[in-house]
């Protein structure tokens, strides 16, 4: 009896890509997971993951608690300090910093160095702080310009590759009585996306990261050049009016109704567009066009799993991290029936979806500058919140630029000291 379970466990483990069989056999106790995958589709994925892992290990009980994604952003602190669970969800890069610095995330450099996580080399950087790794990614997605293919065809426009073409296209769109871009900046971060791209294209990925780490100045000529490019778009009326009043979802109808033709967004926008009744013939995707002659950097925010340093069952937690990053699980959870995003494991298969394929192609071949996480994940939280407010103000009152930049510069001097 016991033997038969063991063999079936072994086969499950094999199919799941866990070739280090020893890990699978002797896990016991309880594995407590707190997840922020609270939206319906991700929730189903997470519950599936927990159930599968539980079934693979007969002696192990997996306890899953799903917390609201927004609420988790402030609850994580309490969760990690009082009676910490074993595994939790969070975000890559600078967003890890407070927890890494406070010693609340387990250092899992050993797993990365020891070859326990094959196929994840390309995403290692996002999990690294001071040369050590503190978690594993499980999904990521591209950002870029989603546009109304049917309106582009109607106006005889093609996907632009340079900023001049972008502006020429935009002029024609405005002349046709539409706006070029929809955006809802009420919650500020959408403006951060625009700044990320304009700055990475104008000054390059490396400068953008210097700005994020506080080495570059907000009043520098480079930053001014970025805003000058942005201002071209603002002044020609490229963005919808009153965007400061809308959330990103409230800005969707402009795109769906064809009042605005493009949306700079993450790939998570696609299901919303499809649900609103747009077919794949009506929407398409292109990479944010080239501005200066610098290698293209891209935003590709990565969501992650971490082990709490106060975890009770670290062995099971490590096995779970291996499990979620294994190629088969990655193909499955990021597939079209799952998250509909990009798998982090190089050996996983990418879903057969127009947008996921284009994003994968872009990030694999045409993001030579580097991959950023996103404005509010790369910049320290406080700098991000002050800066995004300034970015929104700039989009509404571009004449206030000087004041905004001085404000951001004095914030920089205070925050990074």
């Amino acid at each position: 009896m016991l033997k038969s379970i063991k063999t079936s466990v072994a086969t499950v483990a094999m199919t799941a890509g866990l070739t280090t069989g020893a890990m699978a056999a002797d896990l016991s106790g309880t594995l407590r997971i707190i997840s922020d995958m609270s939206n319906p589709a991700p929730r189903a994925i997470m519950e599936g993951l927990a159930a599968d892992f539980d079934a693979m290990h007969p002696d192990l009980t997996v306890e899953l608690e799903v917390v609201d994604r927004e609420a988790w952003k402030s609850q994580i602190r309490n969760a990690l300090t009082a009676n910490p669970p074993d595994v939790i969800n969070w975000y890559a890069a600078n967003r890890m910093a407070p927890y890494v610095n406070a010693g609340l995330f387990e250092d899992i450099t050993g797993m990365w160095e020891g070859g326990d996580l094959p196929g994840l080399d390309s995403v290692k950087g996002a999990m690294t702080m001071d040369g050590k790794q503190y978690g594993v990614p499980y999904t990521y997605y591209q950002w870029g310009i989603y546009y109304r293919e049917d309106i582009f065809n109607e106006l005889g426009l093609t996907e632009p590759t340079t900023f001049d073409e972008e502006i020429a296209n935009c002029q024609k769109i405005i002349d046709s009585g539409r706006k070029c871009y929809t955006i809802g900046s009420k919650f500020l971060w959408t403006a951060g996306g625009w700044f990320d791209y304009l700055n990475m294209r104008t000054n390059g990925f490396d400068f953008h990261m210097k700005l994020a780490t506080g080495e570059a100045s907000w009043t520098s000529d480079e930053v001014r050049a970025t805003f000058a490019n942005w201002r071209k778009l603002v002044d020609m009326g490229a963005f919808i009016d009153d965007h400061q009043t809308y959330s990103w979802q409230e800005a969707l109808p402009f795109f769906v109704n064809g009042e605005a033709t493009a949306y700079l967004m993450g790939n998570f926008v696609v299901p919303h567009l499809r649900e609103a009744g747009l077919t794949d013939d009506q929407i398409d995707f292109y990479q944010f066009p080239k501005i200066a002659d610098v290698p293209m950097g891209e935003d590709a925010p990565t969501d992650t799993f971490h082990i709490a340093s106060g975890a009770q069952n670290k062995e099971a937690a490590r096995a779970f991290l291996q499990f979620v990053t294994s190629p088969d699980v990655q193909s499955k959870i990021n597939g079209p029936d799952g998250l509909g995003q990009l798998p982090v494991n190089a050996n996983a298969s990418v879903a057969d979806d127009e947008f996921i394929q284009q994003g994968f192609e872009m990030l694999s071949n045409n993001a030579t500058g580097g991959i950023a996480q996103f404005f509010d994940r790369d910049f320290p939280a406080e700098m991000a919140s002050v800066a995004m407010e300034g970015l929104q103000e700039f989009m509404v009152f571009p004449d206030n630029l000087e004041d905004i930049l001085n404000r951001l510069e004095s914030a920089r001097e205070r925050i990074y000291q």
């Binding site: 602190r77 009420k186 009016d241 009153d242 400061q244 009043t245 407010e389």
Partner: protein
Amino acid sequence: MTNAHDTSWVRRNRMTLTPLMFLLPGVLFFLVYVISPILQSFNISLYEWDGLGEATYIGLGNYQELMSDRAFETSLWNNLKWLALYLLAIPAGLFIALFLNQTITGMRLYKSLFFFPFVLSQVVVGLVFSWFYLPREGLLNAVLSFLGMDAINVLGDPTMATYGIIAAGLWPQTAYCMILYLTGLNAVDPEQIEAGRLDGAKGWRMLWHVILPQLKPATFIAFVVTIIGALRSFDLISIMTNGGPFGSTRVLSFYMFEKALSEYGFRMGYGSAIAVVLFLIMLVFIGYFLWSMYQDEKAARR
């Protein structure tokens, strides 16, 4: 008689002890849940602390930073706007109450209709008003365009947004004050009104010299709840603008939340410093209320 000096100390002092015993649980809870957090806030405001790591003592550093923080200045001004304009709920509530204090068939229905906004949650009020203000589809702009005026984006315009939110807040607050006055009006002595009428008082004079003095307790409570409501305004701002556009609708309580507890915050010391400032402002009013209640009781005892 010989027993007198035998009786225990407890027995002799029970007239004093009994009320103290009854007060004890309340006082204990008050100390643990009100007084000690206030003192803790004062203490934390002297530190630089992210809520996780070590706290560093920086003296009055947080307060110095507040002095040059424009977002703080905006919040402070907005709090003053809230205080001043929110008080409009008191006269508005009084006049609606006077208007509704009649005996007409179906008056109860009208009263409950006027009272209705107070029953709504602040979140619902905020949502309803933000839809009302929507730049394109909103009812407000439909009315304005019907009247041939230009559309306005109330919540997107930094000069108007705070007033837009206060207007939303006045809706339930007026209903609250109205209810206070309606109950007050029930207690107005008809004989005094009769006497006033015989002396030739009518309209404003009647209201000012005969009715209002009798409504003084209701006015006092309306004043207290309105001031406190204005200073703790938070839900409406969070729902309607989230502090925006570009931070122009923040008030102290919202700014404190942003700095200390929101997604981008976790500067516990700085948040506490803001809380202390808000507390000191409130203390002025609380002190006045307490003093005024004490005076009333002293007068009543005479």
